[in-house]
């Protein structure tokens, strides 16, 4: 449980990081909170020749409100810091609600928002939240800066749209919308474990009480966090009711996902969990959006 030999650098600017990435290519790994990378190195499953520590890089830990009501978080903002932030609680309640589910308090003290997203673990909570909220990330590389939407960012199993030599610098969460409501739920074996299934739901109701938008992101159901499109289709344009959320749950669990089996959950159990959690999360999200769920069909 000791890592293989590696070189280590502590750059102070993003430019230096980009320079080092260009120099070492895929031999380099970026060290943010280290909560996934270091164990992987200790198991010798990852043996990077060069470790570039981002903890000394300036300008990556901002947590700021945009004028338009958005929230901008530097990649190196610790999960614990975001969890305790009044600004996050006010602007992005779904993120505040979700962060306590991310591993354990000790891990969140070190773990970063950007590191978590760039790691792109399909069992991780934050990528699903980003999807549900249609957030975007800002990345910088040798050719400058670009923005990538969450839908495009999570490309596969531990894979992102980051190009070689690029660095995730910031997360941008869009402003809250009138009539919006969100909820996060997951089922894990123990508090702090990766969920067997989790769901981040975000809905918007129009003035007439109809569902205008519904983003339902699921985690631990495949090679990347995914949006349950058929479930959304059960809701959009409809007046939310017990029947529509039940239908959305079934669509999510039985049509949208093709979940894997592992030692903790069979395929059928994951489908059940997705079905139930989507229904429950939507019920809460609609309540928070100010839509009372009727018992009958809409």
């Amino acid at each position: 449980m000791k890592p293989a030999p590696f070189e280590y650098r502590r750059p102070e600017t993003v430019e230096e990081v980009i320079h080092l990435l260009a120099e070492y290519g895929d031999e380099a790994k970026l060290l943010a909170g280290g909560q996934s990378l270091i164990p992987t190195m200790n198991f010798r499953l990852a043996q990077p020749a060069m470790l570039i520590d981002l903890n000394t890089v300036e300008g990556l830990d901002g947590l700021d409100a945009g004028d338009d009501g958005s929230l901008r978080m530097g990649a190196m903002v610790r999960q614990a810091m975001a969890e305790k932030s009044a600004l996050v609680a006010e602007r992005v309640p779904l993120l505040a609600e979700t962060l306590p589910y991310v591993a354990h308090a000790q891990i969140r003290n070190r773990g970063t928002i950007g590191g978590n997203l760039a790691h792109a673990d399909p069992r991780s909570e934050l990528p699903a939240v980003m999807l549900a909220l249609a957030a975007s990330v800002t990345v910088r590389g040798p050719d400058g800066e670009r923005s990538i939407g969450a839908r495009d960012f999570f490309a596969g199993f531990f894979e992102t749209a980051l190009e070689e030599g690029e660095l995730l610098t910031e997360v941008v969460l869009p402003p809250a919308v009138e009539g919006g409501g969100q909820a996060f739920l997951e089922v894990s074996r123990r508090l702090g474990d990766y969920a067997m299934v989790g769901v981040a739901a975000s809905v918007v109701c129009d003035g007439a009480g109809r569902c205008d938008q519904a983003s339902i992101a699921l985690l631990s159901v495949g090679s990347r966090p995914m949006l349950a499109e058929r479930a959304s289709a059960c809701l959009v344009g409809e007046r939310p009711s017990r029947a529509t959320v039940v239908a959305a749950g079934h669509a999510a669990g039985n049509q949208d996902i093709d979940p894997p089996a592992d030692m903790h959950a069979s395929v059928a159990y994951r489908r059940r969990l997705a079905t139930v959690l989507v229904r429950r999360a939507l019920t809460t999200a609609f309540e928070r959006a100010g839509c009372v769920i009727g018992e009958g069909a809409s």
Partner: protein, 780 residues
């Protein structure tokens, strides 16, 4: 002997200041100048022919001092000892295959050590492991128990020609005749799997050969320092007095640290002698999953014959037991299953047959409970099913079958793990059951709370089960009590200690005899230089066997104190009293301190009477004729989410009987830890092997130990039925909490699911419950 102000009191633990301030010394805290660090290359294959091991590149790496394979060990390479030979049971088959220090020719489980690298740092040692080139020709792997016994199964130990490690039949009465008379017979198949001990401190060894003094000092995370000392001396050609083994503070033992000898335990001292430098090996968590013993699966086919009133006429149980790749621990685990299945019940006819099977997996040796869980599960489940079939309340069927106080000592007419007859010394089971039922609110729950919750769509269930635990077996332990000139008392004993509170409970026992404060008794344990005789801490025996030896030694010292004081104070011994560190003439101000008496007992001048011994010191030994039987009842209320099958424990009640309580706080702590362990076994932990014998979850990310949020508050009460087999009336408690939890979960979850499923397996999980419910729905 007068009042015992300390025994029975929940005094604070003597060892806690050291532990809680981080000053306690564990093996890895011992730093010696010039220490080298070892790392082991382990087999990636569960079964294979070891064709070659090329260590040349590893030896060339800078910082590497030595690399050893089986070839390099010469005569030191040999099979380890059979630690626990099987009891003399008629007709028994036992095939021995004990482990080797480094694999030669053959590897038989993943993680079996093949080579050891010694380097200036653990980092370099692990780097060098990657330099070693091993050629293994994979062989077909034996994983499943039934498959292992199939005629076409590959054979792990060719010399044995079979995968049968043992075959044992024990019986009393005539089960088949009893079955013929039965009103009802319930027959079921059960599977009960377990897991790792999960001690917070993994194993570790630091060996230091001092070539000038010709002395070997070994710090070892063992539960048995004295047998390790004896074995190392023998294997290394040294006198026992040249070898000192220290088991300092240990972060938990739970059984696997009682295994002797692990390959690392043999090799690290040998390497230190060859290199004449201190050598340290600290097991990491990943290798612990493969290299430290654990406990696993048994498959049972069992039946219970009862009369129309639910009275037990007989039990038949035939089971398979996974031994793993070797069986140095004999049949300890399955014989515990066989014996503990009988529980607190009157079982007039019993037929029990087991086959222990070699598989290509880590060795199975006792882990807290040591096979007792499996037996209790089978018996408790059979009683539940019989109760259901007969329409008898589950508490009532147990009450009807409990042994009554007038039936003790009760001879079950079979042999226990210590080769002694399985005779229960004492017990009173009915009050414990009644107390547990009352505490959990059994009737109110069934009559009011459960139906009300069900009407609200909530699924609540209750479980209530009984068990016994054979504890406190021999052979013996010893203790030396000395009063020092400071007036403080030194107490040395040979058992190791791994968190049980020995520094306090042993001190309480001695303090009562010597009239001193508990904090004035300084306990030394686990250092062979301090005490040379004994076996170790295992089988819930510390307080029974070593505690009794402490008691006996203290009585002798008390007599000596009174004798010396009688002379000093010119008063008859009967007129003296011992309290607060002084001997006082009753009803007077005349007194003398223990410190002064210690000086008087060891004079610098003057003659000592012939035959007298100096000092206020005595050494005593205690060996019980046989084990003493503890018992208990656990009850819990669970709620299960009917959709997600998530389970939460609402209440947990334990009523336990371990005879006289020496320290109720420590006893409760043992029960709390045991229950936590049991909850892990029942609902979280599982060693998941694939069909190639690869362990798929060798980390705490996927091997789920219960955490603080999974273990409920426990309401613990005690019944005290003293043991007649030792002077203190105590029984062991170390394993008890872990034993009935699987049976308890099964009953409570079945109850919560309103009989939708029948649970015949452990471990469970929400996912497994879901699958069981789905299967049951598909069948109906």
């Amino acid at each position: 002997m007068g009042a015992h102000p300390h025994v029975g009191a929940g005094v604070l633990r003597n060892e806690d200041p050291q532990l809680l301030t981080g000053r306690a010394i564990f093996v890895d805290d011992v730093h010696l100048a010039g220490t080298l660090h070892a790392a082991f290359l382990r087999s990636d294959f569960a079964h294979g022919r070891l064709l070659s091991v090329d260590t040349s590149a590893a030896k060339r790496r800078e910082g590497v001092i030595a690399v050893y394979t089986a070839e390099d060990l010469g005569d030191y390479w040999c099979h380890g000892p059979l630690l626990v030979p099987p009891p003399p049971i008629a007709g028994l088959t036992f095939n021995t295959a004990t482990l080797v220090p480094l694999a030669r020719d053959r590897v038989v489980h993943v993680g079996e050590p093949i080579a050891v690298v010694v380097a200036e740092s653990r980092y370099i040692a692990e780097d060098a492991l990657e330099d070693i080139v091993v050629d293994i020709e994979p062989l077909p792997v034996v994983v499943g128990l039934e498959e292992a016994l199939a005629p076409d199964s590959p054979v792990i130990h060719e010399a044995l020609g079979t995968n049968v490690a043992a075959h044992v039949v024990q019986q009393k009465g005539d089960y088949e005749a009893a079955r013929g008379d039965a009103h009802t017979v319930v027959s079921r198949k059960f599977s009960y799997d377990r897991g790792v001990a999960g001690a917070i401190e993994n194993r570790g060894i630091l060996a230091d050969w001092n070539a000038r003094n010709e002395e070997l000092t070994v710090w070892d995370t063992t539960q048995a320092p004295i047998p390790i000392r004896n074995g190392l001396a023998e294997r290394l050609g040294l006198l026992q007095s040249q070898v000192r083994v220290v088991a300092p503070f240990l972060g938990g033992g739970f059984g696997p640290k009682m295994m002797m000898f692990y390959p690392e335990e043999l090799l690290i001292p040998w390497i230190s002698m060859r290199l004449e430098r201190p050598v340290k090996w600290i097991e990491d968590r990943a290798e612990s999953f493969f290299a430290t013993t654990n406990e696993r699966l048994q498959l049972h086919e069992a039946e219970l014959a009862v009369d129309s009133e639910g009275r037990i006429l007989g039990v038949k149980d035939v089971f398979l037991h996974d031994s793993g790749a070797y069986d140095p621990y004999g049949i300890t685990v399955p014989i515990n299953t066989q014996c503990t299945l009988l529980g607190p019940y009157r079982v007039p006819n019993y037929y029990s047959e087991f086959t222990a099977v070699f598989t290509n997996k880590t060795i199975v040796t006792p882990v807290r409970g040591a096979g007792r869980q499996h037996g209790v599960f089978v018996m408790e489940r059979l009683l539940d099913f019989a109760a259901k079939e007969l329409g008898i309340d589950r508490v009532e069927i147990r009450k009807r079958n409990f042994l009554t106080p007038d039936e003790f000592p009760h001879d079950h007419e079979i042999l226990f793990q210590d080769s002694a007859p399985l005779v229960y010394d004492s017990g009173d089971y009915l009050p414990a059951m009644e107390k547990a039922a009352e505490m959990i609110g059994y009737r109110k729950f069934l009559d009011e709370e459960q139906p009300k919750a069900r009407a609200e769509g909530r699924r609540l269930g209750l479980g209530i089960v009984s068990y016994v635990e054979g504890t406190g077996i021999g052979p013996y332990e010893g203790a030396r009590v000395s009063v020092e000139p400071s007036g403080k008392v030194q107490l040395a004993t040979g058992v190791g200690t791994q968190g049980q509170g020995h520094f306090t409970t042993f001190a309480q026992i001695v303090a009562d005899q010597l009239g001193v404060d508990v904090t004035d008794v300084h306990v030394v344990t686990g250092d062979t230089r301090e005490f040379s005789w004994g076996t170790g801490t295992f089988a819930s025996r510390g307080i029974v066997v070593a505690g009794s030896a402490c008691h006996e030694a203290a009585i002798v010292v008390r007599k000596r104190i009174l004798s010396v004081a009688s002379e000093a104070l010119e008063a008859a011994e009967d007129d003296l009293e011992l309290a607060d560190g002084v001997v006082r003439v009753k009803g007077s101000d005349l007194s003398i301190s223990l410190g002064e008496l210690a000086v008087r007992a060891n004079p610098l001048r003057g003659a000592v009477a012939a035959g007298a011994e100096p000092g206020l010191e005595a050494t005593s030994y205690f060996g019980p004729a046989r084990g003493t039987t503890a018992s208990g009842v656990h009850a819990m209320i669970v709620e299960i989410d009917p959709e997600t099958l998530e389970v939460s424990i609402q209440r947990y009640v334990v009523v336990h009987d371990c005879g006289r309580l020496v320290n109720p706080v420590i006893v409760d702590g043992q029960i709390h830890g045991g229950v936590a362990h049991g909850i892990g076994n029942a609902f979280f932990e599982e060693l998941v092997y694939d069909d190639q014998g690869q362990l798929l979850n060798a980390s705490f990310m996927d091997y789920l130990l219960p955490t603080a949020t999974d273990v409920p508050h426990m309401e613990v009460a005690h019944v005290e039925t003293p043991s007649p087999l030792n002077p203190l009336g105590v029984k062991g408690v170390g394993e008890a909490g872990a034993i009935p939890v699987g049976a308890l979960y099964a009953q409570a979850l079945e109850d919560a699911l309103q009989g939708a499923v029948e649970i015949r397996e452990i471990p469970l999980s929400p996912g497994r419950l879901f699958d069981l419910v789905q299967d049951a729905e598909a069948d109906s």
